[in-house]
Symmetry: C2
């Protein structure tokens, strides 16, 4: 049987899991792909870390970059992480030297994916990155193969398990953001530094990758990104009263000839599919023709789910299935018209915390009307013993820039006690 020689670079949680899994399942993977995955080298920053298993001295590389020069290596698996530094150096050199690359590195692909894909295509090698977007959800292979027939007009969903866990726990346990985050860290659902999970950057990188794949465009940085740090318990409970849940959603959508990319907390109808996805799960929804709506759901992260994705990429290379990294040749990818969301229409949820005095409500509604934003529902909720009120407003659809203008104007008023909130609504 044919063999494919592999170097695994990076042996943290994921690299170690993959190494063990490949060893244990070598036979069945070989049988399924008619080719043996043969790990001949590994490298890691910390060689002496206790990984719970033995690695023969013979297969340690002196320098991780040696893998890119070694004639026996066919495939390099990059599990170092980070858009710059050693991961970048490794993947660029590997592709330039005609090695296949499999990576779980969303930051790298979202930043340098176009350049890397070009090199891979020129050298007729694979660059695969299923594990970079929602590990347990085989979304990239589905877009590149299972749904290849389709013209996609929208891809959206829950792409970050940590933030989804936090929002759904705040909802279920009626706890504050900080309390839930503290617990999430203890339980291992949030990293010790979870900032890229919470500020939307993680979703942003994944969305850019998906959006290129869906629309056959180059990667584009025109993306609106908001995280979940400003969502508090009150927003979640008001949303609930109004029939919504709050989720951190990523959207890439083709409207007319424009593409909008956006990541932000969203009010979504409680009865919708996306609202039902709780905890650390990920879910991707694709609207396309002729298929209609397709949904793929699964575990988003962790060594096990990520290994499932890595093995899928490795298997594809074992079978000799050389593909364009972004589904279509570099020469055919386009620079499409990506647009700011300021021009897109949204219904919105506003929450104002104001001093309880005559004229405030009238001033607020006046500002809405001056900006041509029409109000669908208004709830005024006096805060006990504080001389203040919460005013919740749900609007009809209006351009995003007007919604933001309203927030800006009202925040400058002296009757405002706390910074006002604006959360977009998904009414579809």
């Amino acid at each position: 049987m044919r063999k494919l020689n592999i170097a695994i670079i990076g042996l943290g949680n994921i690299g170690s899991y993959l190494f063990k899994y490949l060893k244990k399942n070598k036979k069945i993977i070989s049988k399924k792909n008619n080719c043996i995955p043969n790990v001949i080298y590994v490298s890691a920053k910390n060689r002496n870390r206790n990984r719970g298993f033995k690695i023969s001295n013979k297969i340690w590389l002196k320098n991780y970059l040696d893998a890119t020069k070694n004639k026996n290596v066919d495939l390099i698996i990059e599990l170092i992480g980070g858009a710059e530094g050693p991961a970048k150096k490794l993947v660029f050199k590997a592709l330039k030297n005609g090695k296949h690359v499999v990576t779980a590195n969303k930051a790298l692909i979202a930043k340098y994916g176009d350049q890397l894909a070009k090199i891979a295509e020129n050298n007729k090698v694979n660059l695969e990155f299923e594990a970079s977007v929602c590990g347990g959800v085989p979304i990239i292979r589905s877009l590149k193969e299972g749904l290849i027939a389709n013209k996609i007009n929208k891809v959206y969903g829950i792409f970050n398990g940590t933030s989804n866990y936090i929002l759904s726990s705040m909802d279920k346990e009626n706890k504050s953001f900080d309390d839930v985050l503290f617990n999430a860290k203890k339980l291992g659902y949030a990293e010790s530094n979870p900032s890229s999970d919470l500020n939307g950057d993680d979703v942003s990188a994944k969305l850019k990758i998906l959006s290129s794949l869906c629309f056959n465009s180059f990667l584009n940085n025109n993306i609106h990104v908001e995280g979940i740090k400003n969502i508090d318990k009150d927003d979640i409970s008001y949303a609930k009263k109004l029939g919504y849940k709050i989720k951190l959603l990523g959207y890439a959508e083709l409207i007319g000839k424009h593409i909008f990319q956006r990541v932000h907390p969203t009010l979504i109808k409680e009865s919708s599919y996306v609202a039902s996805i709780d905890g650390v799960l990920n879910a991707v929804i694709i609207d396309g023709a002729p298929v209609g709506q397709s949904i793929i759901q699964g575990e988003g992260a962790g060594p096990a789910a990520t290994t499932s994705a890595l093995i899928s990429d490795i298997s594809s290379i074992l079978r000799g299935n050389v593909k364009f990294p972004f589904s279509i040749s570099n020469k055919e990818r386009k620079n499409l018209n990506f647009k700011q969301i300021s021009e897109r229409d949204f219904s919105a949820y506003f929450r104002f915390n104001v001093i309880d005095k005559p004229g405030v409500l009238s001033n607020i509604t006046h500002i809405f009307s001056k900006n041509n934003v029409s109000i669908k529902r208004l709830v005024q909720d006096p805060n006990k013993n504080k001389g203040s009120s919460s005013i919740i407003i749900i609007t009809h659809p209006s351009k995003d820039k007007y919604l933001n203008k309203i927030i800006g104007t009202i925040n400058r008023r002296s009757y405002v006690k706390k910074k006002s909130k604006l959360i977009r609504i998904d009414d579809e």
Copy 2:
């Protein structure tokens, strides 16, 4: 650019849609796969049917079997349907003559898939059948590629849109089976002869195919199949009161060393994911390691969704990605231990329609206890003005054969007015 010469055999709704779609999207499909899908022949039983578009006289075959002999044909797309007759003849001959085959024919694959896969493997051609199982849900490609790493222990879900539409409409509109079926036919959601949709045969064929793919086994006919014809409005409303929905589900599961294949109406918790799938949608849930639970949902049938699946198979062949039809070599597939469900444990829902007289309830509960089936909940509901009662019993898990024995015993009692009901519960 390379070309692949295609013959489409069968030009009904699906064949016609595919023909048009391939013509219209030839350029983009060629670009994505670096190979041109070139339709050189077609054939259909009724050449003169009005298809709404023109087909050049030159590409009509005199005899559909000529496609299997013609040296220029690389790929035959079989859209005739049926497990026997011309479809069978065509696919066997095509593979024997070294042609790739793409088919949407679940009956054929469920019956002759093993023999066909062997011929395909020996002749190093592809036999692809994504469209045979849940068209808009790329489940076969996901099992063979996206989730290839995983050891699957269970696959289940909603595999038939027609029966799901009927059950969910009965629930939502509180109508009888016959009324809903009548409407479904008018709306095109049920065929004029929907028997294979309603009696479980359609699900059974799909499940056999999935189960082989999941467990690397040969196709096996040890499968328990029940349809939805005996479900009535009362069952649906009692289920609802108890917190359940009734769905026609297919299951293939590995428990210990045994595989159980079963298709039957099932009470499933209202809060579960599967319960939320209404209308003509299909949903497939896969439990595997290391991935955990993966869900794929989409439109199950119709020319558009089926074409999406067919193009995915065609694209795979365009790219030269030759694979084992059932994921693994014929030599490696196994005859696993498939077991009757009589030995499996289920909780169950029973409904008895009995004469209202003393001693009946005590006799019924006595029969349960004699069969060692313990009762979890019991509801007695007197039917107005009829001198009869409905007795609903929910049991704790018990072997299927004992549940069936109870039904048999009680149905022979003179106090029984209508045939008793037994519906299995999914409590997981």
